[in-house]
């Protein structure tokens, strides 16, 4: 999987994070996300209709008068928010190098998090019901930096996620330290 020797390049030729080549997440992931988000807004819109037509309780005046405005707002949000998230999902990607794992995310605020394999405490695969159905998995990476700085690469094809996990677990840096 990797060579025994560490290529110790001189300092003026440092491996550069600028040259990282990111693999985008599979299109299925962003489509599923889009669908889930749209369903959520559809549900909210249906809920407003249900609220108006039900007869068990009387709505507060503020809500019943502004029902149309609320629906308009929700419809607008249903276009903008899932759209934004869809575009943001498109930008997500990961890059695996011999000694570290990077994850890029963000549309307006772009961030690249890099985790040296040597400093990984443990990795976890997480799969929700939708992810299980779609054959996807999230790879969670924990370092000693604490819960605040845990990052997850979502929407990986299961085989790929398992492959990365194996790469990390079998990495000689990790194996040595256990």
């Amino acid at each position: 999987m990797h060579t025994e020797e560490f290529v110790n390049s001189p300092i003026n030729e440092l491996p550069d994070i600028e040259t990282l080549e990111f693999t985008p997440l599979p299109p299925l992931y962003r489509k599923l996300n889009l669908l889930t988000n749209l369903c959520l807004f559809l549900f909210l819109l249906l809920a407003t209709v249900a609220l108006q037509w039900q007869s068990w309780m009387t709505l507060p005046l503020v809500i019943s008068v502004n029902m149309d405005t609320i629906r308009f707002g929700l419809s607008l949000a249903a276009v903008v928010i899932p759209g934004y998230l869809y575009l943001a999902d498109k930008r997500k990607g990961y890059a695996l190098r011999q000694h570290d794992l990077s994850y890029r995310s963000g549309l307006i605020f772009i961030s690249v998090t890099t985790q040296p394999v040597l400093r990984i405490q443990h990795v976890e695969l997480k799969r929700g019901p939708i992810e299980r159905k779609a054959g996807l998995a999230s790879l969670q990476v924990f370092s000693a930096g604490g819960a605040m700085h845990t990052f997850a690469i979502p929407g990986l094809p299961l085989a790929k996620a398992k492959q990365i996990r194996r790469f990390i677990l079998e990495h000689k840096d990790i194996a040595q330290h256990d």
Binding site: I17, I110, P116, G145
Partner: protein, 518 residues
Amino acid sequence: MTEPHDEQQLTIQQNQWQKLPLIAIVYFSFNLLRQIVGQFIYLIPALLIGYSTIIESLPEAIAGALILLGVVLGSSWLKFHFYRFRLSHDHIQIRSGVLSKKHLDLPFHRIHNVKLEQPLFYRPGNHTCVVLDTAGSSKDEAKIFALPMQQALSLKSAIVHFASQPAASNGAPENEAADPSVPVTEPQEVELNRRSLSDLVIHGVTSNRIWIFLGGLAPFFDNIFEWLSELLLSSGMDLKALLDPSQQSLWQYSMTLLTLVFMAMLLLTIFSVLGAIINFYGYRLSRLNDRYIRRSGLFTRHEVSMRRSRLQMLVRRQDWLDRLIGRINLKLEQFNANIEHGQMMMLNNKIIVPSIKADECDALLQDIYPENRLSEIDYQPVDRRFLWRHCLFALLLHAGIALLLAPEAMATLITGLSLLLVSTLIYLRWKRWGFAIDNNFIYIRKGLFGVDYYSFALSKIQQTRFAQSIWMKPYNLCSVTLILACGGQSIPFIRCQQGRQIINIGLFEVEAHKASWM
């Protein structure tokens, strides 16, 4: 109950299950009582209200209290009875638990911190509680609830000696650490710093920041009050009438107010000074080989020790008052496994050297990291767009408020002044921001009125983050966050090349040299 030879021997019996000294029952009882009080603290008001009922049924109340005491003592005795520990040359085993039994087997090499705690009631018999911290969760933490001081010290030196062996074979400069001829006899400890009572009073006063700030303003309170009330009066609000329903004159009122504020401030300052004395009384910082040891405490004497390799970050803090009188608070932060356990744990986990002078600080830094250049390195400023961006935010916010208050000329003026003040603060903040990097360390400077320096070894980096917004991109700017085991440090608004260079060098240092972070 205890084996009598326990007390006389200096070294601990190896490979033999041992009981704790009897005094441990007091420790267990005290802890249990504290827990019970902590659980039922919300009942105290009810008890106070029901005071008369309690007095009426005094015998029952006393009986209840006695039963409680009996239960506490009984369960403490059970805990004491079922607690056994055994030491071998490289690990400690602890068996405990009354109903659910626990068996802990802890190899010495997993212990990364040995703390000695001496509550007040352990002083007469010179006992101490030994806390063995591991890098894992708090569940793995082991406590030997009571040991005679001499035994505790020899156990500690045995663990410390064991732990320092691999470090010495890694080529660490401390050759004494590997010397096998110093197992139980204490190797010489070098005293690095000592804090006198007056230092602690200074620390108490300076760490009481907000009140001191108000205290500085106190002579002007009257003027400020006058000015404010005039201002409000001209915008249609009569402060005097509002604050003065009983028609007393304003000066009387403000004098009363002033006195009250002063009293409160004095009280808080006294509390702060008392807090500093309770925490840091008899402060001694010393070094044993590569291990730094802090001892302090008025009632419960705490001992925190940290190996140099466990040190994650140096923090040199100076608030404006500290700057004025030339004092520095130096903090040695280590791995923070108990970050979710709140402030108390964190306080006990790091070594703070309170209110030292600049030369003492330099001497300590020299001792800890001889190559560290925290005090003399040239700090590069962050880009001035940091200033523009934050000022723009403040401007938008103020413009919004001004629009809402549009007709009032005076309100607009106040908004303008507030904007000016905020912008000045942002400017000061920007001026303080600085960063530097050399072959071994990263240095960050920040602050507002005070100035704080942070420095950590490149090899301590756990994770890096390079962040850039679409508005930063055209100007080739970025923000960099470096995550350590004791939390993250960010440097905002620096050139992309600089940011990438920091990350590249950091990653290279970690990945190529594979230095351990603890």
